[in-house]
Amino acid sequence: MINTNRYTWIVMAQHTKSESGETASSVETSGWFYLDPVSKLMVAGCILGLLVVYVPVLYSAELTVGDLPWMFVSKPIVGLGLASSFVGATYYVDFKREGGD
């Protein structure tokens, strides 16, 4: 039986030249080189993290949560969340690629 969870991760995290189907004569000269969906997701997470930290205080510099400034509360949570999810994703994808379940 196909492990769909594993299959999805591998597909999201990789691509090969043969899949792209480009040859020297048919190379696109505009646009971007391919970036895998997991990387796109992490980039989006980074942008979202910075927005979560700063957008609320742009509207209210003195914003507090539980009597603590928003910038005090939000930054370690966002930083830890981003860093640990990236490390986790890196090793999880490698684990799945190597055939782990």
Partner: protein, 475 residues
Amino acid sequence: MVRVSEMAIVLCYFVLVLAIGLYFRNRRSADEYWSAGGSIGTFVNSMAIFAAFASGGTFLGAIGIVYALGVPLWWAAAVGSVVGFLVAAIFVAKPLRRLEQHTLPDIFDYLYADSRINLIAPAIILVGYFMYMVAQLRAGGLVSDYLLGIGYLPAVTAIGLVFIAYVALGGMWAITVTDFLQGVLMWGLLAVIWLISFDYFGYSMSAPLSEAPRVAGTGGLEMQTYIGFALIWAFAVAVLPHIAMRAFSAKSPESAKRAYAWVALMYILVTLPFVHIAGAAISIDPELAEADYALLLVMESILPELVAGFAAATILAAVMSSTDALLLAMAAAVSNDLYGNLVDTDASEERIVNMGTVAVVVIGLLGIIAAWNPPTYLVELYTDGTGLMAAAFFFPLVLGIWWKPMNRYGATTGMVGGALAYAVAYFYTPMFGAIIYAVPVSLVCCVVATWLTDARSAERIEQLSDELGHDRFGW
């Protein structure tokens, strides 16, 4: 008065790093001297990158900032650094390692092959990193003056001469091994100081906030300062030459990416205890004349004498682990990039490495002299040096690797536009605010100049795709 036990520990540390430099003195090929033969594993490289990145500024300057202005300002830099390492891991780590080059300007030369860029990039590195190095040397001088009692000038001179010696002798190998050692020492020191600070507040997580409430405050600074401080590091990490050189030294592209990811996690973890450490400093003396002394105050007040000696050696290690990497990057900018890529493209590898050794000595000595009478604000000095490089290099590098049409005209305009915009905005914006304007200027310059000129050819794009590894595994 000179403190003998602390002094003895620091001298032992100096002997050890010099011995490491001597051990690697025969690794003199360009690949060994600049990139440690591309053979460093993930764990050692992670610790070495962490040590090179978490500088004297992180320890002294950061605790000083938290003491004076509250932890949210420093955590802006920490979150920015996390984003910066993740961006670097995603966009540059693997492509840089695949190219088997030695320096960041080598990468620009590969991407654009333009003599103007070969001149501009090393020049910006020399300006930005010289500011960075002087700030680090000042941190070392402050620590030694305060904890060893030998005076600022002798301390700066001694520290400078020691790291010049081991960098000149052992190049990237000596730096990597000493940085690994320094990284371990830094984690040890932080654990000890945090535990003792934690004990100082009765093992309470919230006590620093109630006893020293300004530690959680926002310091009354403008929002541009907070945003700018985060963005500088978010854009800088990918283009910091001394961090990029670690990607070249990694044993594989995947290892380079993993190392960057681990450093992101280590860096945010290392900044979390700053609340307790700075809170302890505020409780002990809320009116320090020089905020950069806050960490030293905690060490002197609550650490046993012997531990304080190790702590002094560790902060010197933090200073030296950054400064050695900066020095090697500047030496590479002079010998490998300016001389080898521009002045004499036929120069032998041996000649370039020997020139690099001379450059290490000359630049190091100039740094010592500049640090004898440095500007006051430690963090501001090196952050603005970094901001200048981020504004100039981020988009020319990332677009050069990922945007197919990007050409040398776009890169040149983006570099000059970003650097000039940063220099101009510096005078008209609050502290660290210049990056908010300079990076978009660089982006617009890159895109517009590329659109107005001939894009890369299909053959060149195919070559880049193959050599940068875009046609291989994405993640």
